[in-house]
């Protein structure tokens, strides 16, 4: 079998590391742009449409109600597909980094592993881009009644990723059967640097914090929010119905309930965003701890990027949680946190791109 630790310019591992970091960076930039320019504006438009729907209920105008909900459905689809594109792009980036790490344990030829890496990256790009397009392509020219071409393309992208992962699993299985053959090859670096150590410990603590927050949210908040959600909608409808036969219509109560409903949605959103971001940044930090051996930068720069990465990883979720209390200031700090993570990732990506196999050359020379 060929040398599985090779890091040549188009090798499977290098492809996956470069592709993975690029996917994470692209997904984060997309997420930041979405949060700043789309998310809040879209939420306000949904709130306004919901108020218009309650007005229509008070006016006994069923057609207008349905028109408003069609409008809301379109805005929710717009929001949902963009969140999905953001999440999938980043998660595929993580998966690519993971697959890069387990390459020494994938007992396949370098050519097969390179093909699997390309297949994975193709699917990993195809799925989020297609999901992003769902809102714009709609059902145009689709042979199906409820699924458009963009959805079909997204599902195909997902299938490519699954096929690539299945190939990697077969490689792992073959390695497990002949484990003695590659026993000496180890993915973990022989020397653990400060940057690697800090990312590993920091990442584990971030994940632990995220799990504890998630458990607290699931036990104490989730069901409450769901109940409040239903009560708010019922109250909204009842308040609108109460105005149907009123000579001088007063929608103030209904509007207050709509605003309250918006707050419930916002509270749910910030909790979920904080939970998912802190865990994902923790995972990313641990993954980056192992990538450090391929980052061809001076040690002090590796340390700087590690610190910048962890600082951003704490700032973003913490200030997302504080957004409801401190508004735009907290939102700005959270966005700045995201920017720090992006900068650190680009710094590390530059280091990986500068690496043309020096690690292996060094190891080979040492051997």
């Amino acid at each position: 079998m060929e040398n599985t630790t090779a890091f040549e310019s188009m090798g499977a591992r290098r492809l996956l590391i470069v592709g993975g970091i690029t996917l994470v960076v692209a997904g984060m930039i997309f997420g930041d742009v979405f949060a700043v320019f789309v998310l809040h504006q879209n939420a306000n438009r949904i709130g306004a449409a919901l108020m218009a729907a309650t007005d229509a209920v008070a006016s006994k105008d069923s057609a207008l109600v349905l028109a408003q909900f069609t409008n809301i459905g379109g805005m929710l689809e717009n929001r949902g597909t963009k969140v999905d594109a953001h999440v999938h792009m980043i998660d595929f980036g993580y998966l690519a980094l993971l697959l890069a790490l387990i390459q020494p344990y994938v007992a396949l030829t370098e050519l097969t592993r390179r093909r699997l890496a390309k297949l994975f990256l193709l699917g990993a790009v195809m799925l989020p881009v297609s999901v992003f397009l769902i809102h714009y392509v709609g059902l145009s020219y689709s042979p199906l009644s409820s699924i458009g071409w963009a959805s079909i393309s997204a599902d195909l992208g997902g299938l490519l990723v699954i096929v690539a992962c299945a190939g990697e699993l077969i490689g792992l299985w073959r390695h497990a059967r002949n484990s003695r053959e590659a026993e000496s090859q180890n993915v973990t670096p022989k020397e653990i640097t400060w940057a690697s150590r800090t990312l590993l410990a920091g990442g584990t603590l971030l994940i632990l914090a995220g799990f504890l927050h998630g458990a607290f949210y699931a036990v104490f908040d989730l069901r409450n929010y769901e109940t409040q959600d239903q009560i708010a909608l019922e109250t909204m409808i009842n308040a609108s119905v109460a105005q149907q036969n009123s000579a001088a219509r007063n929608m103030r109560d209904t509007n207050t309930v709509v605003e309250g409903y918006g707050m419930i949605q916002a509270e749910k959103a910030v909790n979920i965003a904080a939970h998912s971001h802190i865990i994902e940044f923790g995972l990313l930090a641990i993954l980056l701890a192992f990538i450090q051996q391929y980052v061809f930068l001076a040690e002090r720069w590796k340390r700087r990027w590690a610190v910048v990465m962890l600082t951003g990883s704490v700032l973003l979720p913490a200030f997302v949680l504080l957004e409801l209390q401190f508004g735009l200031i907290a939102g700005g700090v959270a966005d700045a946190g995201g920017l720090l993570v992006i900068i650190a990732l680009i710094g590390m990506l530059v280091g990986v791109l500068r690496n043309k196999g020096q690690v292996d050359a060094t190891e080979g020379a040492a051997a």
């Binding site: 729907a53 229509a56 209920v57 006016s59 006994k60 105008d61 069923s62 109600v65 349905l66 909900f69 069609t70 809301i72 459905g73 929710l76 998660d91 993580y94 998966l95 993971l98 790490l101 387990i102 344990y105 409820s146 997204a154 599902d155 699954i162 992962c165 299945a166 990697e168 699993l169 792992l172 390695h175 497990a176 484990s179 026993e183 993915v187 973990t188 653990i192 150590r197 590993l200 584990t204 603590l205 994940i207 632990l208 799990f211 504890l212 458990a215 699931a218 036990v219 769901e226 959600d229 909608l233 019922e234 409808i237 609108s240 119905v241 998912s276 865990i279 994902e280 995972l283 192992f290």
Partner: protein
Amino acid sequence: MSGSRKVLIVSGVALALWGMGFGLYYALFVEHQTLDQIGGSLAASFSDAASGDVIASRAALQTYADTQFDYVRSVDVHSHWIGLAMLLIVFGVAFDRVRFLERQKLLLAWSLVIGSVTFPLGVIFQTLDRGIIPQALAAVGAALVIIALAIIALGFARTERN
């Protein structure tokens, strides 16, 4: 490769595949219909109220709440299975740095794997039965993951000190 690392890596890749397969199945056969039902029932509850049919409005709102309940959990399960799978693989790669005996590490690895499978399983079972058993299953799974995670963090810290 040690037994604990093998357990984590193979289980992680298998769980990722399972999570993605579940996501693909859900996206193809369930999600579009569910989203239509969520939007449709919410619109119907307002529309029925506009027509003065309060009973139908309440029934539609209940359908909306029930469908939303199932949808949130199904999506959560998909993302948690894949997220936990990635965690398993990452720890599989890093497990050499956890300074415990191999026997203890194997126990830790299995706890993490069992927790990662049962926690989302308990959540998805809640869409079939909202009783105590699925909730207990999810809680036990989550507790296993959290405890294993805390011990692994301790193991990493011991490594750093040593």
